[in-house]
């Protein structure tokens, strides 16, 4: 019994280290939300990049990783906001399908509907 306890105590730093490494690899931005429980379990967001294109439109790319052993079909919705934080009505704000292959990274991409869009919210959920 004592040997088992000692073994567990010995493993504790390793477990903590692995957990910290896992958390360190994730990316947290309040503008991007995984809205499904099942998606939160399998999908890890690893980064986000945004830039103003030559045409003056805001372009956003979100990188993620599917940690599960099976293919996940995702859907994402991008809402665009202007400088007054008013939501911009556009058909480009619709649920778009995106594949996330098992144990692989994936990228979601969106471009703003016009030059007024300066902020965004991205919702990600499990696809149908």
């Amino acid at each position: 019994m004592k040997i088992i306890r000692r073994g567990l105590y010995g493993l504790l730093p390793v477990i903590l280290f692995v957990m910290m490494g896992f958390v360190g690899a994730t990316f947290d931005d309040p503008r991007i939300s995984l809205i499904d429980y099942s998606t939160r379990c399998d999908i890890v967001l690893t980064g986000m990049a945004s830039e103003i294109t030559r045409s003056g439109l805001l372009e956003v790319r979100v990188n993620g990783f599917n940690t599960s052993h099976s293919y996940r079909r995702l859907e994402y919705l991008v809402e665009w906001y202007d400088t007054n934080n008013m939501k911009i009505d556009t058909i480009m704000s619709q649920w778009t399908k995106a594949p996330a292959f098992q144990e692989s990274s994936f990228t979601l991409q969106a471009i703003a509907p016009n030059e007024r869009a300066c902020d965004f919210r991205i919702l990600i959920r499990k696809g149908e």
């Binding site: 294109t53 030559r54 045409s55 439109l57 372009e59 556009t90 058909i91 480009m92 619709q94 649920w95 778009t96 969106a110 471009i111 509907p113 016009n114 030059e115 149908e128």
Partner: protein, 211 residues
Amino acid sequence: MVESKKIIRKVVSIIAVVSMTAISTASYADDVENIDMDNDRAGAVMGLDYRDFQTAAGDAVSSMLLSGAVDKRSGGRYVLAISRIINDTMQRIDTDQLVKKIRVELLKSGKVVVTTAINAYGAEDYMSYDTRQLRKSKEFNQRTVAKKGQMIAPELSLSGKIIQRNIRMSHDKQQVEYYFQLTLTDITSGLALWEDEKVIGKRGSNKSVSW
């Protein structure tokens, strides 16, 4: 006498309750409901529905904006004319279900303005021409009538095709493929500045009809 009145009152109240229940049940009998257009997770249909048009139009505009094809080098907005959008499917589709969404979104983008004075079949809005017939009318203030040479000619043209392919997979299963093909042409040079294709595939029972 008093008892018979009580019985009549009871019967009347029962009839009232029963009839009210019947009316309320009848209003729900057809099981009609409004579609939640923002979060419609109902099953797909073999034909094309509004979600398919939204997807095709949204993807087309995103692709067009990402490509930079509608960025005018000299600044300002391009004038776009809508050319032929051919419906080569087994369904009776008004291609405006697709095109209207695209042109509304392009107009909102501030990069394109659509002319209604000319399209593949003449003018989309004949009023631009009809009001020019007022040039000789004494009833209208001639200063308010459009002068000659005021219309702006289109610089770009949007054309396309919607194609359907039906494939029999087995005795009870079929696959239907829809291709949304769009081209943006520079009218001056005749060169296609942007082209894209969106494929929507559906698989289902042979009993489902796609027309």
